[in-house]
Symmetry: C2
Subunit: 292 residues, 2 copies
């Protein structure tokens, strides 16, 4: 199976109906034909199907408490062992760490007033807000996930800004609502820079390791969007830990011409295959330097 | 003048009209009777009025590029010196650093297709997404701000979660959209814990200093919201830097019974006036411990 594909699937807007799991898989909306979670432990989960499921699951519409995969007897459906933190359970946690959107599909077998009366319905994108372990009624550990609905009109290539991400929510025309997420999504470009540096901060060298894997943030030197119009290219991007990202965004740190850091000790580490554009660094200095 | 009041003012929904600046001030929607920015350099700006303003300002509706205060000749309106990073300019930057919402009011004198034809109109809450310095046409430095509109129905006391914040956006009933902000707003409780620790991380002792002031995040030990239902009290809250907040949220760090840290070196620093509830710590350990 190819890697996960995040976000809406073109041609299948929120509300799309599917007769069965085979149709869901063919459309690419939920590609695994049996499992409730689709995705990869190292790249994230891109979709889940709610159908039947655990007695402790809660479906409040825009807020879903979802139980992970495994540890159940296929014949009886009863929990007979702990759920492992591997495969799809890890995939959903990876999506949480990296702010990746998960497609949610409700099936007729799912006990909820939001379920379709027949077949399956694509319900839109959710964020995995949190995940943790619970001891189920049979005494075994299960993984649980808290999913929060994103606006249906999430534009995945929308206006981005260093350290934040905007989600435009077209409402009654001509006004458009916009929200800012601090949690930068794991876009292809962001992932490239983070992998190049193996998730180490270019300013302090720290590598943060959460349970689902390492964490770093991609920061733009010359910001994207109006009025700066910096490009979303590798030569305009840095790999930073959240602490140095905050300092960089709020002029606590500037980068000098020789790559030494102003505001903290040290020098920007640059990988041999990472060519940073000096014009973007100059733009940054000219507009974000502290005037103390 | 009393301190800034953030968010919607009860009784004055988005779209409320005001005849003049005196009426705006009496309503508490924009309390300063002359200045375009209202607020405090150390607590943030709570509102701005767009009226006339700088030739470089841009008003795209949900995205506004706004120029700061000062350096203009009152008689001619021309820029005659650099704008200082003080007073209201600093207040808007503080709001940006801490994710505080700013009320935006458009006046009839504001050149924009979004302006009211007469008087003033309250337009809703915006986030200060970014701020920087530009050299204006007269050669002097000005401060500029990028404001992004939040949903009109922002519920300030909405469901909160450690490290994230949900904004509920009622759309066509009965569905409600929800967005998650990583940038935790500077709520009263969050501010108390951060001030108690002087913005130092309880795990590593670091104190991040951005241009507008120090930065730290409040983290809940037992998460708020369903299904955890942790309380929003000081004995359930920690003051952390963003790096340790990410690790704490993603089970890269747990806190042992004796307050030693598991996952990194060290021990949780606890202020004499900060009594942490052991039940919340135990809840956290039971549900967020790495099972490696």
């Amino acid at each position: 199976m190819p890697g996960p594909v995040f976000g809406h699937i073109p041609g299948y807007p929120v509300g799309s109906r599917f007769e069965n799991r085979a149709a869901l898989a063919e459309a690419g909306v939920h590609r695994h034909r049996q499992a409730g979670i689709s995705g990869s432990a190292t790249k994230g989960a891109d979709s889940i199907v709610l159908s039947g499921g655990y007695e402790d699951d809660q479906d409040l519409g825009n807020l879903i408490i979802y139980t992970g995969y495994g540890g159940r007897d296929p014949a009886t459906g009863r929990q007979v062992s702990d759920q492992p933190f591997s495969l799809w359970n890890r995939a959903l946690a990876y999506s949480s760490l990296n702010g990746l959107p998960v497609r949610v599909i409700r099936g007729e077998g799912h006990e909820s007033r939001y379920s379709p009366s027949a077949g399956y319905r694509y319900e839109g994108l959710y964020l995995v807000d949190d995940y943790w372990q619970d001891r189920g009624r049979a005494g075994f550990l299960v993984w649980r996930y808290r999913l929060i609905k994103l606006p249906d009109q999430l534009d995945q290539e929308s206006d981005q800004q260093s350290g934040t991400e905007s989600i435009e929510v077209p409402s009654e025309a001509p006004r458009r609502e916009t929200i800012v997420l601090r949690n930068v999504r794991d876009t292809k470009q962001a992932r490239r820079i983070k992998e190049l540096y193996d998730y180490r901060c270019q300013m302090c060298g720290i590598r943060l390791e959460g349970l689902p894997g390492p964490y770093a943030e991609a920061a733009h030197i010359r910001p994207l969007g109006a009025p700066h119009k910096g490009p979303d290219t590798l030569d305009n991007t840095l790999c930073l830990c959240p602490n140095h990202h905050v300092l960089f965004d709020h002029s606590g740190i500037t980068i000098d011409e020789d790559l030494s850091l102003v505001g903290v000790e040290g020098r920007l580490a640059v990988h041999p295959r990472h060519s940073i554009n000096n014009n973007h660094l100059r733009y940054r200095r000219e507009h974000y330097q502290a005037n103390t």
